[in-house]
Symmetry: C2
Subunit: 327 residues, 2 copies
DNA sequence: GAGTATACAGAAATCGATTGCTGACACAAG
DNA sequence: CTTGTGTCAGCAATCGATTTCTGTATACTC
C-alpha cells in the first residue's frame, strides 16, 4: 500500500506538504511539481478511510429506498445521483424493503460510516431519524414524510394526482370508478386514494366510495389481485384509478385475463408506466416528476451540507396528466 | 460523539477491553457486563471508519452495474444483496452508465474506501480491474467478462439462449427470423446474436444472416427503432429475436405502431420481460436466472474474502425457455 | 537598515478503534 | 517454596491523512 509518506519521501518533502498539494492549498510550484510527479510514478491513491476519520465525514451520501426493483425509485436515484456526482459526492443505494429493521440498520451504517448525509424514502410505519439528527447529520425525506423527526421533505402532490386521474376518467364518461392503492400505512397511497375519493364525491355525492376502494401492496401482484376482486363484484366498476405504476400493470393484466381491456373497463394510472404497453387503446397517465424529485432532494441536501441554516421546508411537486404517448 | 474511550471510562476499564468485549473476545464476565451497560447508557455506536482504517478493510462490497434502471441489473442486485447481508456485508450500488470513466471512478472509490470486494458488470469496452487486483482485493465479474484482468466470472449461456429463442420461433413456423441485439462491444449482445445466427444457419444454410441483424443500444428506444427499420425492408422478417428485455419491449411497441403484432410478426425474447405485456398472444421468453447470477457471484466473492485460493473460475448459468406465463 | 508582515514547509498531534506486547495474578506441578 | 503455565487486562503503537502550531525565510514599510 503506497501512502502519503511514501510520496513525501520520494518527493523529499513532508507528508503535510503532499496533503496540501493534493488538496489545492498554496504550495510553491516547484515542490508541487515534485509531489505530483512522485504521486504519479508511485500510482498513489489517497486513502479515503483515513481522510474521513480525520475530517469526520465522507463524501458519500446514502439513499435509502424501499424497493430497488420499482422504477419510480430507480428514476429517483438517477436524479439524486446526477446532482450529487456533480458536487463531488458519490451515492450509496440502500434497499430497505420497506422494513423498519433493515432501514434502521442502514441508518446505523450511515452514522457509523460517517456519511455526509442521508436521503430517505421512509419505510412504512414509524420511521425514525432522530438519532441521525442528534448526530448533526443532514437528512432529507423523499416521497413520504418521516413519522418522527423534523426534516426537509420533498413529495408529490399525491391527492391532486389521484384527483386528476379520476377526473379524466369521469370526463371520458365512466361513472363507477374504483381505486386500487397501496398499503394504508404508506402515505402516498393514502393521499392518492383521498384524491380519488374527493373527486368522486364531488361528481356524485352518493357514490359509495369505500365499496370501491382496494388496498394492495403497490406491486404488480397486488394490483392484479385487487382488480380481479373488483371485477367479481355484483356491480363491478366501469373504470379504475391505479395509484401507482406497478398496480397499473397488474390491473391491466387482470383486465386482459377477464377480457375487459380498455376501453371496456377504463383505467388511469398515477405514475408513468415503466414501459409502454402496446395495445390499441391509449391510457391516461398522471406523470410524476420522479427524476426531479430526486434532483430536488439532492439539492436541498447539498445545501444543508454546505451549512445552510434555513428553516425546514417541504417541497411539493405536481404531476402532469399526459396525453398517453408511449415510451 | 461518544467514543470507545468514553465507554471505557464509564465502565472503569481500558479501551482495549471495551473493544474486546464488543468483538466477542474473551473477557471476564463481570467486566463485560459493566462495558455493555456503559455502552448502552451512552448509546455508543462504534465508528466504522476508524475500525476500517485499523483493520484495513470494511464490511462493504461494491456492486457496479451499467444501468440501475434495467430490471436485469436490479434483480441481480437483489441476489447479491441477499447473500451479502446474510454474511454481514452491506452493499453499495454504483451506476456506471456503461461508461468507462465513471466505472473507473467507482473502482477508485472501492480501492480508496477499503471496500472488502467488488462485483462488477464491466462497462462496454476495455474494462480494467488490474489495479484492484494489484491491491489484493477480491473481484468477481458478472454477466460479462472483463477485458483485462483474470477474475472469477459468472455469466449466462448467452449463445444458447439466442439459439433457443430462435429455435422456438422456427418451430412455430417462422422462416425469416431477424435479430435485434445490443452494442457489439457488449459481450452478451454479441453472443446472443451468435446463437441466433448459428441456429438460423443450421436450419437454412443460405439464410442471409447479416441482412437481418441489427445492433441497438439494449434499451427500449433502440429496440423500437431497429424493429421499425426491419419492418421497412423490402423483404421484412416474419419474426424477430430480441436479445434483451428492453429491446423486446421496444420491438413490440414498434410492431404495435406498424400494426403487425404477434402472431403476424413473431417475437421471442431473451431475458424476462419486466412486466407482463397484456395482450392476447403469448410470447416465448428465454428466462435468465438473474437473481441466481447475483447470488452466485456473491457467494464466490465471499469465498474469496474468507481466503479461498482456488483457481479462478467461470460459472455459466443456463436460461430456460418458458411457456409464456404472464408476470 | 531595522522592524514587521507574509508565505510557506515541517513537526507533531489528532481522528477512533484495534492489537501486539507486557505484566499481573492464579493455580498446578515439582 | 519456587518455577512453570495460562488467562486476561492495560499500555502504547498503529492504520493514513489532515491540520494546528511553530519556525524560518522572504518581502515590504518607513
Amino acid at each position: 500500500m503506497v501512502t502519503i509518506y511514501d510520496v513525501a519521501e520520494r518527493a523529499a518533502v513532508s507528508p503535510a506538504t503532499v496533503s496540501r498539494v493534493l488538496n489545492g492549498k498554496s504550495v510553491k510550484a516547484e515542490l508541487a511539481a515534485r509531489v505530483l510527479e512522485a504521486a504519479d510514478t508511485l500510482a498513489y491513491v489517497p486513502n479515503r478511510t483515513a481522510r474521513t476519520l480525520r475530517r469526520r465525514h465522507s463524501e458519500v451520501i446514502a439513499l435509502i429506498i424501499p424497493d430497488v426493483e420499482n422504477p419510480l425509485f430507480t428514476a429517483l436515484a438517477r436524479g439524486v445521483e446526477d446532482v450529487a456526482r456533480e458536487a463531488g459526492y458519490s451515492l450509496v443505494l440502500c434497499n430497505s424493503d420497506d422494513d423498519l429493521a433493515k432501514e434502521r440498520e442502514y441508518l446505523d451504517i450511515a452514522i457509523s460510516g460517517d456519511m455526509a448525509g442521508v436521503i430517505i424514502v421512509p419505510a412504512a410505519g414509524e420511521s425514525n431519524v432522530d438519532l441521525l439528527l442528534a448526530k448533526g447529520r443532514a437528512v432529507v425525506a423523499v416521497d413520504r414524510p418521516v413519522a418522527h423527526g423534523n426534516v426537509d421533505t420533498v413529495v408529490f402532490d399525491n391527492a391532486r394526482a389521484g384527483h386528476d386521474a379520476t377526473t379524466v376518467l369521469w370526463e371520458a364518461g365512466y361513472r363507477r370508478i374504483a381505486c386500487i392503492t397501496g398499503p394504508n400505512d404508506v402515505r402516498p397511497a393514502v393521499d392518492r386514494a383521498m384524491g380519488w375519493q374527493a373527486a368522486m364525491l364531488g361528481f356524485d355525492s352518493t357514490f359509495p366510495a369505500v365499496t370501491y376502494l382496494r388496498h394492495g401492496d403497490f406491486r404488480t401482484r397486488g394490483g392484479q389481485e385487487m382488480m380481479l376482486d373488483l371485477l367479481q363484484m355484483d356491480e363491478p366498476p366501469d373504470a379504475v384509478v391505479a395509484a401507482n405504476n406497478l398496480i397499473g400493470v397488474g390491473a391491466i393484466n387482470a383486465m386482459a385475463q377477464a377480457g375487459t381491456l380498455p376501453p371496456t373497463t377504463g383505467i388511469a394510472v398515477v405514475g408513468g408506466l415503466p414501459y409502454a404497453l402496446p395495445f390499441g387503446h391509449p391510457i391516461p397517465v398522471v406523470h410524476l416528476p420522479t427524476r426531479h424529485i430526486g434532483m430536488s432532494a439532492a439539492r436541498i441536501l447539498l445545501d444543508r451540507l454546505s451549512g445552510s441554516q434555513s428553516p425546514v421546508s417541504t417541497v411539493v411537486l405536481r404531476g402532469e396528466l399526459t396525453p398517453p404517448t408511449p415510451a
